[in-house]
């Protein structure tokens, strides 16, 4: 017992009484913790006892406490690594295709177009997506099966709903943070980079992916439908 206490000494600390339950809940909900005002206490606690906490989750829950980024962009999260994946298969949740699409879109707009600096106003964001010449047609096609000009109120609402639901999910994951005083304003957190790391292989090899898809299209005359149901597995 004594060894255990020394090993996980952070549980005996004064901060643990106030913070550990929240931290544990957040991490196990899949949340990412970073050094931003709403998470500063949890972040500092994690950084202070980083090694002990990592050991704690590794030994007791067979899960890895990952840390990515540096300085202001540093963030923590729990992940199933190759070792634990086989043992604890059920302890994970998929990021749905809808949310994945919006995540990549949000990052593209934020990182590349530099359209927004800090706070993003949700209606502006929706308007930007619906008005972008490059991809609005694909979006209307996916969520309304129509072109923008022919879209009805229901179609427009469906797109709005997609964006808002995805943002809610991202807030739960700690990838964005809503302004507590104005729930229509949100800020992108450094941990949204996790989405890039999740798809880094595909992003780096995108040219090859496109070539492969084009060659399949050429062979099949464009008949390359996604078999519904399989795609989301």
């Amino acid at each position: 017992m004594e060894t255990a206490i020394k090993k996980y000494g952070f549980l005996e600390s004064d901060e643990a009484e106030n913070l550990f339950a929240d931290l544990d809940f957040a991490l196990k909900s899949g949340q990412h913790i970073q050094n931003f005002p709403h998470q500063t206490e949890l972040f500092n606690f994690l950084e202070k006892y980083e090694d002990e906490i990592r050991l704690f989750y590794r030994n007791l829950f067979r899960v890895n406490l990952a840390a990515k980024g540096s300085d202001y962009t540093r963030y923590f999260y729990l992940e199933l690594d190759d070792e634990s994946r086989g043992i604890v298969k059920t302890r994970s949740k998929k990021l749905s295709p809808e949310y994945t699409l919006l995540g990549i879109l949000l990052l593209k707009i934020h990182r590349i177009d530099k359209y927004f600096i800090n706070d993003i106003y949700v209606p502006d964001f929706i308007q930007l997506i619906k008005g972008n010449e490059e991809y609005k047609n694909y979006i209307y096609n996916l969520f309304a099966k129509r072109r923008e000009k022919e879209a009805t109120d229901i179609d427009e609402n469906t797109i709005d709903e997609w964006v808002r639901n995805a943002l809610k999910e991202f807030e739960r994951l700690g990838w964005i943070h809503y302004d507590p005083r104005n729930k229509e304003l949100f800020e992108i957190m450094p941990s949204i980079e996790r989405l890039f790391t999740m798809y880094s292989y595909e992003i780096h090899n995108i040219d090859r992916l496109i070539d492969e898809t084009n060659s399949i299209e050429e062979r099949t005359g464009g008949l390359y439908p996604v078999e519904e149901g399989e795609a989301s597995e």
């Binding site: 206490i5 549980l11 550990f20 339950a21 544990d24 809940f25 196990k28 899949g30 007791l60 829950f61 899960v63 999260y77 729990l78 992940e79 604890v88 059920t90 302890r91 994970s92 949740k93 998929k94 990021l95 749905s96 295709p97 809808e98 994945t100 699409l101 990549i104 879109l105 990052l107 593209k108 990182r111 590349i112 991809y135 694909y138 996916l142 969520f143 309304a144 099966k145 109120d153 229901i154 609402n157 469906t158 709903e161 997609w162 994951l173 798809y199 595909e202 992003i203 995108i206 040219d207 992916l209 492969e212 898809t213 439908p225 996604v226 519904e228 399989e230 795609a231 989301s232 597995e233």
Partner: protein, 449 residues
């Protein structure tokens, strides 16, 4: 200024114009490569002149070429070509060979730190033996030192010109969008690394200069003004070399961060392009399935299920709230004990409640029946005194509550009807059988025609 007269007169022949110099250099390179013999016919010289002129874009009017080539040949014959009158062949003069050798060394000096190191150790060895007299020292300075001084300077010039070439390449890279930008940048960086490495090696090869400086300081010739003057020159040459080496390092240190920035910009540009391409790929190749329309609080939406392209797998993240930490020795999150409820039934009470409910239902049925009787009588006789019914209910049903509820309902329902007039007089209608109960006179009158 006093130049020898002959030098002044022949200067333009000793120092050739560009086209002549290049012809000589071309011949020199051909001989060295073995593509032409050491002695060659006039035809080969004319061919070379033609090649050089074409390359320099020096075209002449028709018929004038031969004369131009002939003039060039004559100029070269003064110092650069020797003619064998018997065999009618030509060969490059020693002056031409030295000239070419000098040109090539100036432009393409191979950086050779080990050679420099050897040169320096020779200089040191010789110097140690040449400090007996000022004449010996002068000899060392004018033969050994002066000769090697040029080699050393050439090495530094070579380093500097390599840097200049690399910088030019980098500027080109920034100005133009090359397809192989990244490869070219890597090439430039490797070049700079090599230059820096060579500069470091040269720097350590030059370390023997400190030995020379020390030997000169310790020499017994310090009283000789000539010695002191020469010593100053040697020291100033070394100082110059040191400074130039430092400059090489500084230049490279200044370029390096710029290269890194170029890398970052490029990597970012490339990464951004890939993210954009990935996004469009996802949007273009994803599909969706529509379910029914869904009504939400203040809007209606389609129920849509999206499928990513077949070759893109959705990613998962850790999520397991069922295993929140609960450690036996540290009861942080133990839930409170569950209270087991004792669920026993009171059979008697259940029966009583059922009976009461049944009585209520029966009463409601009876009231409904009375109301319909009253309505029927009203339609038939056009007038009803409710008090009659009131006492009838009391008498038949023996249920005061039913009588009162019927009275209330009659008042409420019939007052609403357009063709019924309800009047209440504040006089009691009494019944002898019910001495303790009274009701005001309530009359319903049908006004329907």
């Amino acid at each position: 200024m006093h130049f020898p007269k002959i030098l002044r007169e022949r200067y333009n022949l000793l120092v050739p114009r560009q086209e002549d110099g290049l012809v000589v250099l071309a011949l020199f390179q051909k001989v060295r490569a073995g593509t032409i013999e050491r002695t060659f016919p006039e035809r080969l010289i004319v061919d070379t002149i033609k090649q050089v002129y074409t390359e320099l874009g020096m075209t002449s009017a028709r018929g004038e070429e031969t004369q131009k080539y002939d003039e060039a040949l004559h100029r070269l014959l003064r110092h650069f070509l020797d003619k064998n009158l018997e065999e009618k062949t030509y060969q490059l003069s020693t002056y031409a060979e030295n000239f070419c050798d000098m040109l090539e060394r100036e432009v393409h000096t191979a950086i050779n730190p080990s050679q420099i190191q050897k040169t320096f150790s020779d200089l040191v060895l010789l110097l140690e033996r040449k400090l007996e007299s000022i004449d010996d020292f002068r000899h060392w300075y004018h033969t050994q030192f002066f000769k090697h001084k040029n080699d050393i300077s050439a090495q530094l010039r070579a380093l500097q010109s390599q840097i200049e070439d690399t910088v030019e390449q980098l500027n080109d890279l920034v100005k133009n969008e090359f397809d192989n930008f990244r490869e070219m940048l890597i090439g430039c960086e490797a070049l700079l690394d090599r230059i820096k490495e060579q500069a470091d090696k040269l720097s350590s090869a030059f370390s023997s200069k400190d030995d020379i400086k020390q030997i000169l300081d310790d020499a017994s010739l310090a009283d000789e003004p000539d010695f002191r003057e020469t010593k100053r020159e040697v020291r100033s040459f070394f100082k110059d070399i040191e400074q130039r080496l430092i400059n090489v390092s500084h230049t490279i240190d200044r370029i390096k961060p710029k290269i890194n920035k170029l890398y970052n910009d490029f990597e970012k540009r490339e990464f951004d392009r890939k993210i954009e391409a990935f996004l469009i790929y996802l949007l273009k190749n994803s599909s969706s399935k529509f379910g029914r329309t869904k009504k939400l609080k203040d809007r209606t939406v389609h129920e849509v299920e999206v499928f990513l392209p077949k070759n893109i797998i959705t990613r998962d993240f850790y999520s397991d709230r069922s295993r929140l930490t609960s450690i036996d020795y540290y009861q942080l999150l133990d839930p409170p004990p569950v209270l087991v409820q004792d669920l026993s039934w009171d059979e008697e009470d259940l029966k009583r409640q059922a009976m009461l409910r049944q009585q209520q239902i029966d009463r409601e049925i009876r009231i409904e029946k009375w109301i319909s009787d009253i309505a029927a009588e009203l339609e038939k006789k056009k007038k009803v005194n409710f008090a009659d019914y009131y006492y009838k209910i009391l008498f038949k049903d023996n249920d005061l509550e039913a009588a009162i509820k019927t009275a209330t309902l009659v008042l409420k329902e019939f007052s609403k009807m357009e063709n019924v007039e309800v009047t209440v007089r504040e006089e009691f209608a009494l019944d002898a059988k019910q001495p303790n109960i009274g009701i005001w006179k309530l009359q319903l009158k049908s006004t329907a025609s």
